[in-house]
Amino acid sequence: MALKQTSGVTVTVENVSLSFGKTEVLKGVNLEIKPGELFTFLGPSGSGKSTLLRSIAGFGPRPGGRILIDGDDIAGLAPWDRNVGMVFQSYALWPHMTVRKNVAFGLEERKVPAREIAERVEAALDLVGLAAYGDRRPSQLSGGQQQRVALARTIVVEPRVLLLDEPLSNLDANLRVQMRREIHDLQRKLNLTTIFVTHDQEEANTISDRMAVLDQGVIQQTGTPLNLYDNPANRFVASFLGTANLLEGRIEAGDGGLWFIADAGPRLRLTPDAGAAGDRTAAMMRPQNLTITDADGALGQDVAVLEGTVEMLEFLGTIVRYAVRVGGASMLVDETHRVGRAVHAVGDSVRLGVEAADIRLLSA
């Protein structure tokens, strides 16, 4: 008997706020998670990810606002009445029960007939590749296996939503990549609406359909990984997702186009629809989108050129990362490294090229 594919539910979070004593941990969070979607909460430690996830599961103080599953408000329900499956960061396997007993627990609490329990437990263990381990104690399993037991224990009850709180953080690097894929496959197979919490950008990028970036209890931006990386809504998202050069300045019209005038000196040509002249804003460029040449080197057409001096360089293997002083600003530039290619030394005068299309203006 295989585990059933679900039809997937919608999870709606409406204006949810929560405080521990005087500290506001969630400040009016709004989200809509679609049926069968793998949705990630990404943010630095302490940003409120776990608190939000636990609110959905019914743990912690009761939050203000509404949490809806397929339109029903569950905010007033006790955790055991929600049928929302959660996998804990430390797995929280019960040490006094065997693996099989751990997995059977939720079905027993639901008063499922014993025969059916046995079948479903075996199916779940099979699904996570632990069919042979049912009689072991959790303490006799490796970290990865414990993780799988925790997953099996949660999905065997066929929860409406799957919640995963930093599920990979206790695993070593290789296992993390493997488990990430397994979780992804499993989620697809069951079509289970899933919320995944992590502080790891790479993990979020590879696994999510969509994600929400949290900082200080506020959702900064929601979207697909690619969209967030390319079009960050604000300075926080821009720097949290990868490395970003941020220049503060204003937009001006002139020379038959729009220009960004950085407070620190550099002038950059913008695409005609980039913004309105006179606005103050920040310009964001990714280091790999800048090109670097010698002081007399040639750069392509339609490329803004900035003159500067190399302040620092780091050889990272596939790339060389330079910090280049341009006027009052320090810009990071990544150059793909080719065998034998000379690098620019500290103190060298260099020129940086930026295409208008690679510049993003941030409103906030």
């Binding site: 599961a57 006790a78 055991w80 399993l141």
Partner: protein, 574 residues
């Protein structure tokens, strides 16, 4: 479906019942005792007259002084026993350390009054030791003369409190701390004075306060050694001979409680803010020194002497229980098992009563202990801390005081259907034992609960288990090791408790072992059977303790590797 707020109803009802129990059987009786102490016996008005009378009566002045003197001297003598043992075993590479530490705890299994009479036969004016001393060296030592006897017996029994606390402190002084001090230029002497001594002091003070408390409150030992001019015996004698309305028993009770509080407060201050977890990661453990040959011989001599002393009550009691006649001779004249046969055939009710009372009391303690621990640490009930304080408050109430309180409070309260006052029904003995041991069981339960990660509970709730189902299927099974430990501690100490029991036994057929031992020991002919009963008590306790260690070890090995594999977060994800 349950809402979150409704889920507080269950714990709330449990907490209220627990609070009610503690109020009826702890707070009210103690309050009653204090109230009566300040009440004019004739008019009923509040007054200090009883205290004035107390301090104007020479017998009470003397008793007060004696109790204070005996308790203080017992601390001194107990320190003399404990310091070398603690120091040698923790600071030197010295074979048999574990043996010594284990043997050092043995006296705690047997309360002092049980061995008191046997000690007279060994150390008294005409005891084995003095007979031998007199014969070979022509002098005797008054070990057991008057107050000396009480001091000697008490310190032999209670020195482990100092030993345990002090060893814990010494054991936890990390090598790296001492090396750091030496590295910064401290010599060995300065090292001891500036690092070892200050770090070990709180442990010593905590242990010493406990010894003081135990000795000050002890009733059985002075009674059996026939020393009546001390506070606890006076309280008992006033109530049992003059009557429940005599105010002096109450005045003494108030003084006993005050000194208990003082001793506990001292211990609390000593340990406050000093957790002993000074062993650092990657530290080399304890700094132990190797001993030269002659040093080692000296150490062994001291240690063996102390151990002989420690074991002397047990040795003497064993001899007494197997001896035919033992009087004016170093050893009994002949040996027999007759005392055991007699006791088992004629006095087995003592044994069955003890098993019943101590079993029930310990059962009540762990059930209440678990419930209180859960309410206090796992619910947000308002006022839950109060429950903890109330239960722990029993630590400060000497058995005599609780006994007097029960007599006074419940002698008029007739139990329905039984048709006699609650104060003379055997159940009151069980309740007294349960109340007195509750603090220890509660601490064991709290420690066990704190080992259970909250996430293990949340995981169960997440999978559909209600609070009460989670408690039953997850919390209690995981606490089982601690619960068993709590049960055995309560059982073992309740099995030989005398001070509250002696006041509450209203008929011979209700009496437990401790009372039986006390009764037997009163007469010369009863000593043999009394000793046999004492040995039986020690065996019961020993076996219970051993079994519990087995259970606890098994539980620990089951769970231990998990901790390493999955480091659990303290409360919630970071």
């Amino acid at each position: 479906m349950t809402t979150v707020s409704r889920s507080l109803w269950g714990p709330g009802a449990v907490a209220l019942s627990l609070a009610l129990f503690l109020i009826v059987f702890l707070v009210i009786p103690v309050a009653k005792v204090i109230y009566v102490a300040f009440q004019d016996p004739n008019t009923g008005a509040l007054t200090l007259i009883n205290f004035v009378d107390f301090f104007n009566t020479s017998l009470f002045q003397e008793s007060f002084f004696n109790s204070f003197y005996v308790a203080s001297m017992s601390v001194v003598l107990a320190s003399v026993f404990a310091l070398p043992l603690a120091y040698f075993t923790t600071r030197f590479n010295f074979g048999g350390s574990i043996l010594i530490q284990t043997l050092g705890v043995i006296p705690l299994i047997m309360p002092p009054f049980v061995g008191a009479v046997a000690m007279v036969l060994l150390f008294g004016q005409n005891g084995s030791i003095n007979l031998l001393l007199d014969e070979y060296f022509g002098f005797t030592i008054p070990f057991m003369e008057g107050l000396n006897g009480v001091i000697f017996v008490e310190s032999v029994h209670y020195f482990p409190f100092i030993l345990i606390n002090l060893s814990a402190a010494l054991n936890n002084i990390d090598r790296s701390m001492e090396e750091a001090a030496q590295n910064l230029g401290a010599s060995r002497g300065r090292l001891f004075r500036r690092i070892v001594f200050p770090l070990a002091m709180p442990g010593y003070v905590a242990g010493a306060s406990l010894v003081f408390l135990k000795v000050f409150d002890d009733l059985g030992t002075p009674l059996l050694l026939n020393i009546n001019n001390m506070l606890a015996p006076q309280a008992y004698l006033r109530i049992s001979s003059i009557g429940i309305n005599d105010p002096m028993g109450y005045v003494i009770s108030v003084i006993l409680v005050m000194f208990s509080l003082l001793a506990l407060w001292t211990s609390f201050l000593a340990l406050r803010g000093k957790d002993y977890a000074t062993v650092q990661k990657g530290g080399g453990g304890l700094m132990k020194r190797d001993l030269a040959g002659w040093e080692k011989a000296g150490c062994y001599a001291v240690v063996i002497l102390i151990l002989l002393l420690v074991l002397s009550p047990h040795i003497a009691l064993t001899l007494l229980s197997f001896g035919t006649v033992w009087s004016f001779s170093p050893l009994p004249d002949a040996y027999t098992a007759q005392h055991y046969v007699d006791v088992v055939s004629t006095s087995s009710t003592y044994i069955t009563n003890t098993l019943l009372y101590a079993g029930l009391a310990a059962g009540i303690d762990v059930v209440f202990g678990t419930a209180i621990a859960y309410v206090v640490w796992r619910t947000g009930l308002p006022g839950r801390k109060l429950l903890d304080y109330m239960a722990m408050g029993a630590v400060a109430i000497p058995g005599v005081v609780l006994g007097i309180g029960y007599l006074r409070t419940f002698y008029q309260f007739d139990v329905p259907f039984i048709d006699k006052p609650l104060a003379s029904w055997w159940v009151i003995i069980v309740i007294a034992l349960a109340i007195r041991r509750l603090p220890y069981a509660l601490r064991a339960c709290v420690a066990a609960l704190q080992q259970v990660s909250v996430m293990l509970e949340e995981a169960a709730e997440n999978l559909g288990a209600t609070k009460s189902r989670t408690v039953r299927r997850i919390v209690v099974p995981l606490m089982m090791g601690g619960i068993v430990a709590g049960f055995v501690t309560s059982f073992a100490t309740a099995a030989v408790e005398l001070s509250a029991t002696i006041m509450l036994v209203s008929q011979e057929s209700d009496a437990p072992l401790a009372y039986g031992i006390y009764e037997f020991m009163q007469s010369a002919s009863g000593r043999g059977p009394g000793a046999a009963l004492g040995i039986i008590a020690v065996l019961i306790i020993g076996i219970a303790t051993y079994l519990s260690h087995r259970v606890i070890n098994k539980k620990e090995t089951e769970r231990a590797p998990q901790q390493a594999a999955a480091p659990e977060e303290k409360v919630q994800g970071a």
